[in-house]
Every structure is written in C-alpha cells, then in structure tokens.
C-alpha cells in the first residue's frame, strides 16, 4: 500500500466546472434534435465542425503556451455549439468555422482562456460573422418547403424573411404562435424552439448550472420594453409575444448569460440581466441588423465589472469602487 499526500478537503460537492459545462452541452445538444429532424444531418455536421475547430484552436493556443496537453475543460464545445445555434441552417459551412476561429483566437486566448474571458466568446464570434458576412448570416431557408438540405455543399434554397426581419421593417410576422413555440419559422438554427429552450433552461436552473435570476431579469426587462414601446401597431401583449419569440432573444437569455462573464451577487446578476435585456431592445429599435442580441450581450459584458463594483460599493464591500 503506497500512500500519498493530499490537501483537504477529501470530498467535494457534485457541482464542478465540468458538471456545469456538461449540463450546458447536454442542453445544447437537445436543441439540435428538431433541426436535425427537419433538415437532415446538416445541423449535426455544422455543430461537429464548429466544435472541432474550437478544439483545434484550444490545442493550438495551449501548445503555443507550452503547457502540455491544455484541454482540461469543455468550454470550447459550448462555444462551438452556441455559435452553431445562432447560424442559419443553410449558411455555408465555413461561416460557423470562421466565427469559431474568431471566438477562440480573438475573444478567448488573449485573455487567458476559460474563466478569464471578459466577453462571451461565442457572442463575439457571432458578432464578427454578422459584421463581416451579414448577407449569409441573415438569409434563412424557407420552412414552408420542408426538405433535407445537402450535408456538405452549398444550399440553393428558397429563402424567407425571419420574424425578426419583419419586425425590423415594422410589419407583423405572418407566423402562427404554435409554430413559433416549436421553432417552425425562418430563423437561426437552434433559437426557434421556445419550448425546448425553456425545458433546457429549467434543467440548467435545477442542476444549478445557470443562474435563473439573470435570465428572468433579462426576459422581464425585454418584455417590459416591448410592451411599452412596440415596434409594430398592435396591443402590448402581442408585441411582447412577438418580441420574445422572434430572433435569438430567448436563446441568448439562457445560453449567452453564462456564469463566467456574469457576477458574484444575485443583485448584480439581476441588474446585469436587466441591462442586457434593455440593450437588446435598444438594438432592435436602433440597431443596424435584425439580430442584435449578441451585440447587446457584448456591451452588457463590458458593463458587468461596473455593475459588480457598484453593487459592492452599495453593500460596503469595497473601500472605493476604483481602488
């Protein structure tokens, strides 16, 4: 019997970084089911490719830093999957790959990798893709013609305007509410099925892999603004319905408000969520693109240290906010 030394504690609670990331990956994979059934294996290929690119980047940056085998956690898979979810299913396959490259190499590696990223890497990657290739980012396959898309090649399909685009141009989207709940509409790959996203959110909250208050405040702020300032001529409730279910709002409120970029206190997280929700609605009103969620998340990320120190000062934790 050869005994070794170790430092206490000799047990640990079940929630670890790996378990949190694992839950997230599971939830994101669940979101892939509906698009796969509808469009064939293309979404799976896209997701696999994105995750692979992220893994390769992770390995490369680790090797450049000479730290041996660098992959100790699976946040790269979360980044890859979230990026896939925000892409149109008919996007060229290089598009999510480019977004993943940007997310890993520009938004993650320079700041020291997982746990140190000031911005959500996936949000940064998607924002980059939006700015560089808006045409490819916002042309969605028409759900009226259900068909399996080619797995590898280019997709030459009928495109349709998404609900977010209708709202952006001040028109009422012509989509049944039931279709909106199941994601049977033109839009990014994984952001449509509100019911599945809701179930995933519940799973994450119950398993303590995400903070419910951030998401709830995000949705509350967005809903309040949607009711107060509707973009289309309709009753406040209808406006809330369309705003919350269109675009990537619901998805982003669950999967982009990750615990890393967020804050340590419940109050801080509430303010952070509300700020992100408010910014998102501002982007919808004044932004240049139909999908503004990722931009709103980036700005909220930049504000989060300010929120954190403001909450700290309010509680008397910091001698002074600035140090």
């Amino acid at each position: 019997m050869k005994l070794s030394n170790a430092s206490p504690p000799f047990l640990h609670t079940d929630v670890t970084v790996m378990s949190m990331l694992g839950d997230r990956i599971f939830a994101l994979c669940a979101l892939l089911v509906i698009p796969t059934v509808r469009y064939g294996p293309r979404p799976l290929v896209m997701a696999g490719l994105s995750v692979l690119i992220c893994l390769v980047c992770e390995l490369l940056t680790g090797l450049m830093r000479k730290e041996g085998v660098p992959v100790t956690e699976w946040s790269f898979a979360v980044t890859g999957l979230v990026i896939t979810m925000l892409m149109p299913v008919n996007a060229p396959l290089w598009l999510p790959c480019a977004a993943c490259l940007f997310a890993e190499l520009a938004a993650k590696a320079p700041f020291g990798g997982f746990g140190r990223t000031p911005f959500n890497p996936a949000a940064a990657g998607v924002a980059f893709a939006t700015l560089c290739w808006p045409k490819q980012m916002f042309s969605y396959v028409d759900p009226a013609e259900p068909q399996w898309l080619p797995v590898w090649g280019e997709c030459s399909v009928h495109t349709a305007q998404s609900a977010a685009a209708y709202l952006k141009s001040g028109l009422k989207p012509d989509i049944l509410p039931f279709d909106m709940l199941w994601g049977d509409m033109a839009g990014p790959l994984g952001t449509g099925a509100a019911l599945v996203i809701g179930a995933c959110a519940l799973l994450l909250f119950v398993r303590r892999a995400a903070h419910a208050e951030t998401t709830l405040c995000f949705l509350a702020a967005a809903a309040a603004l949607a009711a107060l300032f509707p973009r289309i001529a309709c009753s406040p409730l209808t406006s809330v319905k369309y705003e919350l279910l269109s675009g990537s709002l619901f998805f982003c409120s669950v999967f982009l408000m990750d615990p890393v970029s967020s804050l340590h206190t419940a109050a801080g997280r509430c303010i952070y969520g509300a700020a992100a929700g408010g910014l998102l609605m501002a982007f919808r009103h004044f932004g240049a693109y139909e999908q503004g969620a990722v931009f709103a998340v980036l700005i909220a990320n930049a504000l989060s240290p300010l929120i954190s120190s403001a909450v700290g000062r309010a509680r008397g934790w910091e001698g002074s906010v600035y140090g």
Partner: protein
C-alpha cells in the same frame, strides 16, 4: 441612440488614441492609477466637456470667415487645432495667476484634456455645419459623459487584461487593444460598421 453610441465610440477612440491610459513607458502605471481614481476621471471628463464646448463655439464663430478664405477642408482642422492650443494657453495662464496649486496638481490632466478635445471636437465641427449654440452645449455634455464612461470601462479592462492566466505577450496593452476591439464591435452593431 446611434448618436450616443457614436459619442461613446469616439470617446473610446479618444481615450485609447490619446495618452490617458497608455502614456507609454514610465508614465504608464502612473496614468493608469490616475485614471482609476473617480475624482480624477470626473475632473478629466469635466475639463473635456468645457474644452469641447469652447472648441465647438469657436468653430461656430470662425465658420463664416473660413468659408470666405476657401479651401476650408484644409484650413479648418489647422485653425481648430491652433484654437485648442490657444485655449489651453489661456486656461493654463489664467490658472497660473489665480489657482497655481490646481495647475501644479492637475496640469497634466489639463493638457491631456485639451489635446483630447481636438480629437473629440473636430469630427463634429467638421461634419455639422449647421451647428447652433444649444446643440454645441448638448454635444459637449454628451462628450463628457461618454468620456467618463469610457474611462471607467477601460480602467476595469486594464485589470482584466493583466490577469495571471493571460499570455505574457497579450497581458497589458495588447490585451486592452483586443478588448476595445471587441467592445467597438458591439457598438458597430448600432451603426452597421461606419463610425461617422
């Protein structure tokens, strides 16, 4: 909103472009510490507001003469820069006489505020020919507020970018540049890419 985001973006540019946080070399850490003190950041923003206001009004007053001379697109920046120099000279001279201790303590901020103002003021004076006095005031206040916010965000960014896990080549200035890059990407979502 787009106008405000433009202001913030401009202020971010000014903060990074001018040497507030990154005075370079020896002044680097000292300037950083100064920027992180709320009083200094506030004073800085106030001075920027005042200088912006004066610059905008000067530009407004000189506009008719410039258009008489012709080639105003060459003359205008030169005249504005010279005006900022004169303003600084005036302010510093007045302070020397009336409040020498203030100048001794905050002289560096005063001079940097003057230089930053040129960066902040020229775009607007250049663009908005039909500027009137009230707009100038609003613009100056907006600039000051945006500037203050940008200083706050950047002072935190600096701390984030010098964490022990960051690669050595990126820790500090290069990391902050990437940080500002991603942040301005977010603001580009408002404007669709263009600054002005």
């Amino acid at each position: 909103m787009p106008a405000f985001s433009q202001l913030i973006l401009t202020a971010l540019l000014a903060v990074t472009a001018e040497n507030l946080l990154f005075a370079g070399g020896a002044g680097f850490s000292r300037a950083l510490r100064a920027a992180r003190k709320p009083s200094t950041a506030g004073l800085y923003a106030l001075l920027v507001t005042l200088f912006s206001l004066v610059s905008a009004l000067t530009g407004l007053a000189l506009e008719p003469y410039l258009s008489l001379l012709g080639e105003e697109w060459i003359l205008r920046p030169a005249v504005l820069t010279a005006a900022a120099g004169l303003e600084y000279l005036l302010a510093a001279g007045l302070l020397r006489v009336f409040a020498p201790s203030f100048l001794r303590d905050h002289g560096r901020i005063l001079e940097q505020a003057a230089a930053n103002t040129v960066v902040l003021a020229i775009p607007y004076v250049q663009q908005m020919f039909g500027f009137h006095a009230l707009q100038a005031l609003g613009y100056a206040l907006g600039t000051g507020a945006a500037f203050w916010l940008a200083v706050l965000i950047l002072s935190h960014a600096m701390k984030i970018c010098t964490n022990p896990d960051a690669p050595r080549a990126f820790s500090g200035l290069p990391g902050v540049l990437v940080y500002v890059g991603i942040l301005s990407m977010a603001f580009a979502g408002f404007t669709g890419g263009k600054v002005f």
